[in-house]
C-alpha cells in the first residue's frame, strides 16, 4: 500500500512553450479522436439545454453581475462568510499561497493521526498541488472521482477541468486498473473487460473500502454563501457526497473568489452551472454544509480560504473578470484549439481558453509556457459566446499578449523588429506605397504563377502546408491613381 502515487507531478513551470507541446499533441491521433468525440457530444448537449431556457442571456448577465458585486466587495463578503461559519462551529483558516495552504491542511491531517485521506475532485487542491505535498509527508490522498482515479492510478495529469481523463480510451483505462489498483488497495477483477459498466464497478469496489475506512476527507467547493456560511459541491457520481458525509473530519480548500453574497444568488448559478458544464438540466448530487451538524456527518469542519495569486488578479480592473469563472469548462468544450491539442499542452491545471488567461494571471508571465499561453488561441470568440458568466476571454488574451510584449520591450527579437518596421511603414501612406512597389515588382517577376512554394523561416511556418499567394502586379492604390478611381 505504499507505492508512491504521484510519479507525475503537476508542476508545469519549466515546460516547453505551447506550440511545442501542441505539435506533439496533434500527432496523438487516438487522443484527437477521443477529444473530437467527447467535445462535440457535450457541445451539442449544452447547446440544446441552453436553448430551452428563454431567459438565458438575462441569467448570464445576472451571473456576471453577482460575481462582479462579490469581487468589488470581496473583503466584506469573506469576513461575513467567516463569521457565519464560525458561528456554526466550523474553523476558518486563511492561506496566502499554496505553501501556506498545504501546511495548514497537513497540520490538520496530522492532528487526526491518520496516514490517508479521501478526496472530492477539486481544482483548488490541484492548483496548490496538495496531493503531492501530502504524499511527500507520507499521507496518501485518494481521489474518489472516477476520472481523477484513472489519472491518479495512471500517474498522469488531468487534461480537462470537468472530465480530467477525457484523453483516455476504455482500453487504456482497463490496463491502468489492472496494473495499478492492486498496488494501492483492492485489485481489479481478473476477468474485467473494457466495458464501461465493468470498469465503473471495479472502481466502485476499490473506492468503497477507502470510503469506509477514511477518517478525514478533503474537498473544494463550487460556491461559498456569505449570508449563511454554506458551502456547496455539485457532482455527478455520489462519491463526493460519501466524502462529505462519512468521515469525522472535513477539510475544504476554497478559493476566495468562490463567494456568493446570498442564498438567493445560488438559484442563478444552479441554473447556469449544470447546463454549461455537463449539458444537464441539473446535476445528480448537490451537497451543502454549514458547519458541523450534531450526530450527522463530519464533526470537525475546517475551511481553508486560499488566495494564491487571486488578489493580484483582483487588482487588475480588466483582468478581474477572470475571477468570475465557475469552472464549468464550457469554454474548453467549444474551443477549436483545445479540441485538437487537449489539455496537457497548456501546461497548467487549468487548460483551454480559461487556462490560457487564468494561469498567466495567477502565475505571472515569466516562464516560457506562461508567455506562450495568451497566444494559444485564434481569437475566434467561441469561448466568450458560451461562458455562463460572460468572461471576455478574447479581450483578456489580447491584454495578456500586450503584457508579454511590454515585458520584453528592449529585448530586440526578430518579431519585435519586424513589428516595429511594419508599424513605421504603415505610419505614412507614401512609405506604404513605396513598399508596395517592391511587392508588385515581385508579382511581375513571378509572371503567370499563382502561388509560391517553400519559403525560408519565418515565412516557412506558413508555407510548410499552405500555398503563398503571388503578389498582384498592381495594388489597389496604384489602380486608383492610374485610373482616377476607375472613372478614367
Amino acid at each position: 500500500m505504499s507505492a508512491p502515487l504521484a510519479k507525475t507531478t503537476p508542476t508545469f513551470v519549466g515546460m516547453p512553450k505551447f506550440p511545442a507541446m501542441a505539435k506533439d499533441a496533434l500527432a496523438n491521433t487516438q487522443q484527437r479522436r477521443n477529444l473530437l468525440h467527447a467535445t462535440h457530444t457535450i457541445r451539442a448537449k449544452r447547446a440544446s439545454v441552453v436553448e430551452e431556457v428563454p431567459q438565458w442571456e438575462a441569467l448570464r448577465l445576472n451571473g456576471a453581475d453577482v460575481k462582479d458585486e462579490v469581487l468589488a466587495n470581496l473583503d466584506s463578503y469573506l469576513l461575513q462568510f467567516e463569521e457565519k461559519l464560525t458561528e456554526r462551529g466550523a474553523t476558518v483558516h486563511w492561506a496566502r499561497d499554496a505553501e501556506e495552504a498545504n501546511r495548514i491542511v497537513l497540520d490538520l491531517v496530522r492532528a487526526e493521526g491518520v496516514d490517508e485521506v479521501v478526496k472530492v475532485k477539486s481544482m483548488a487542491t490541484q492548483e496548490i498541488e496538495l496531493n503531492e505535498a501530502l504524499e511527500a509527508a507520507g499521507i496518501h490522498a485518494w481521489e474518489t472521482d472516477l476520472a481523477e482515479l484513472i489519472i491518479q492510478l495512471g500517474h498522469d495529469r488531468p487534461s480537462h477541468i470537468l472530465v480530467p481523463a477525457i484523453h483516455r480510451g476504455r482500453a487504456e483505462i482497463r490496463q491502468i486498473f489492472r496494473q495499478e489498483m492492486g498496488k494501492v488497495g483492492r485489485p481489479a477483477p481478473e476477468d474485467m473487460t473494457d466495458a464501461p459498466r465493468e470498469l465503473a464497478e471495479a472502481a466502485r469496489l476499490h473506492l468503497r473500502e477507502k470510503f469506509l475506512r477514511a477518517k478525514v476527507a478533503i474537498s473544494g467547493a463550487n460556491f461559498a454563501i456569505a449570508d449563511t456560511g454554506t458551502l456547496v459541491v455539485l457532482e455527478s457520481e455520489g462519491n463526493g457526497r460519501m466524502c462529505l458525509t462519512l468521515p469525522e473530519t472535513l477539510i475544504s480548500v476554497v478559493g476566495i473568489e468562490k463567494v456568493l453574497p446570498t442564498w438567493e444568488d445560488l438559484g442563478t448559478f444552479m441554473q447556469l452551472l449544470p447546463r454549461s458544464s455537463t449539458g444537464e438540466r441539473m446535476n445528480p448530487y448537490t451537497t451543502m454544509w454549514t458547519g458541523p451538524a450534531e450526530g450527522d456527518g463530519p464533526q470537525n469542519v475546517h475551511v481553508v480560504l486560499i488566495d494564491n495569486g487571486r488578489t493580484r488578479v483582483l487588482a487588475d480592473e480588466v483582468g478581474r473578470q477572470t475571477l468570475r469563472c465557475i469552472r464549468c469548462s464550457a469554454c474548453l468544450n467549444v474551443c477549436p484549439v483545445y479540441e485538437r491539442v487537449g489539455g496537457h499542452a497548456y501546461g497548467s491545471v487549468y487548460p483551454g481558453p480559461i487556462g490560457a488567461v487564468l494561469t498567466p494571471q495567477l502565475r505571472g508571465t515569466s516562464s516560457a509556457i506562461d508567455q506562450s499561453l495568451p497566444y494559444a488561441s485564434s481569437l475566434c470568440g467561441a469561448c466568450f459566446e458560451v461562458c455562463p458568466v460572460r468572461i471576455d476571454i478574447p479581450r483578456l488574451l489580447v491584454k495578456l499578449r500586450t503584457q508579454v510584449v511590454d515585458e520584453h520591450r528592449g529585448h530586440n527579437s526578430v518579431e519585435s523588429r519586424t513589428m516595429q518596421a511594419a508599424a513605421w511603414m504603415f505610419a505614412d501612406s507614401r512609405r506604404l506605397a513605396k513598399a508596395q512597389k517592391a511587392s508588385t515588382l515581385g508579382g511581375k517577376l513571378l509572371g503567370r504563377r499563382t502561388a509560391l512554394g517553400a519559403l525560408p523561416w519565418p515565412a516557412s511556418s506558413w508555407s510548410s502546408a499552405r500555398d503563398v499567394p503571388v503578389p498582384p502586379k498592381e495594388t489597389f492604390r496604384q489602380w486608383w491613381d492610374r485610373t482616377g478611381g476607375g472613372q478614367a
Binding site: 477549436p336 467561441a382 500586450t402 511594419a422 506558413w462 499552405r466 500555398d467 498582384p472 489597389f476 476607375g486
Partner: protein, 246 residues
C-alpha cells in the same frame, strides 16, 4: 452621404480585386465612394499580437483620415472589428482624450460590407449574377465580434444564378487567427484542414467570405491540395453582373 472606402493594407497590397469590386458595386448602387489616399492599416495585426504601442499611432491615423465621413466601408470583417471593438482600449492605453473622442465618433460609423449594404443602404438585392455553386464561410470576427448574423447570406440568396450550398459546421474557426497562423502553425493547419475538408464535401466551386485573410489561409490549403476550389470575397460575387461575370 459621404462614404469612404477603407481598402485595408492587406487587400490594397495583396487582394486589390476586392476593393475594386467594392467600388464597382457601390457605384452601381448609386454611392459615390471615395478613397482617402492617406489611409494605411488599422493596426489589427499589432494589437492582436500584443504590440499596442505600435497600434496606437495607426488608430490615430485612422481617426484622422476618416473623421470627416458619414460612413466608412471596410472590406474586412476583422479590420472592422478592430476599429469598432479594440480602438477604445487602445485610446484608453494612450491616455489621449482627443483620440478617445475621435474613436467614439468614427468607430460606430465603420461598417463591414454586408452591414453597410443591408443596414445603411437597406438593400439585399444588389442586382448581381453569379452562376456557380458557392458555399459561405462566416468568419469569426464578422460572426462574433460584429454580429453580422446572416446578412451576407441575405445578400447571396438574392444573387441570380447562384447555387448556394450550406457549409457544415460553418461557424467553426478556420484557424487563421492573424499571427496565430504563424505562431501556432501546426494547430492552425489542423483547424484549416478540417474546414477545407468540409468545404470540399459541399462540392462547391467557390468558397466565399467577408475577409481575405481567412480566405488566404483557406485558399492556401485548398491550393496545396490542388483542389480546384476557388476563394472569392463577398464583394466580388456581389459585384458580378450579367455583363461582367467573374
Amino acid at each position: 452621404m459621404r462614404v469612404a472606402l477603407f481598402a485595408t493594407c492587406f487587400n490594397d497590397t495583396m487582394w486589390p480585386e476586392t476593393p475594386k469590386a467594392t467600388v464597382r458595386l457601390l457605384r452601381r448602387l448609386g454611392v459615390d465612394v471615395e478613397f482617402p489616399s492617406k489611409q494605411t492599416c488599422c493596426g489589427q495585426m499589432f494589437t492582436n499580437t500584443g504590440y499596442a504601442d505600435e497600434a496606437i499611432p495607426l488608430a490615430r491615423k485612422f481617426v484622422d483620415v476618416f473623421e470627416g465621413y458619414d460612413a466608412v466601408v471596410s472590406v474586412s470583417g476583422s479590420c472592422t472589428g478592430s476599429v469598432r471593438e479594440q480602438y477604445a482600449d487602445l485610446a484608453a492605453r494612450s491616455g489621449d482624450a482627443a483620440l478617445a473622442d475621435g474613436v467614439a465618433k468614427v468607430a460606430p460609423k465603420t461598417y463591414e460590407l454586408s452591414e453597410f449594404l443591408v443596414d445603411v443602404l437597406g438593400v439585399t438585392d444588389v442586382g448581381a449574377y453569379f452562376p456557380h455553386r458557392v458555399t459561405y464561410h462566416p468568419t469569426c470576427h464578422s460572426l462574433r465580434m460584429l454580429k453580422v448574423g446572416d446578412k451576407p447570406l441575405q445578400l447571396l440568396r438574392q444573387v441570380r444564378g447562384i447555387d448556394l450550398v450550406e457549409l457544415p459546421a460553418a461557424d467553426e474557426c478556420c484557424g487563421f487567427g492573424g499571427t496565430f497562423a504563424m505562431k501556432n502553425a501546426d494547430v492552425s493547419v489542423a483547424m484549416g484542414s478540417d474546414k477545407v475538408r468540409r468545404i470540399r464535401d459541399t462540392e462547391a466551386e467557390v468558397v466565399v467570405a467577408g475577409d481575405n485573410s481567412c480566405l488566404a489561409h483557406i485558399g492556401g490549403l485548398l491550393g496545396r491540395l490542388r483542389s480546384g476550389v476557388r476563394t472569392l470575397h463577398l464583394a466580388e460575387i456581389l459585384a458580378s453582373t450579367d455583363g461582367d461575370v467573374l
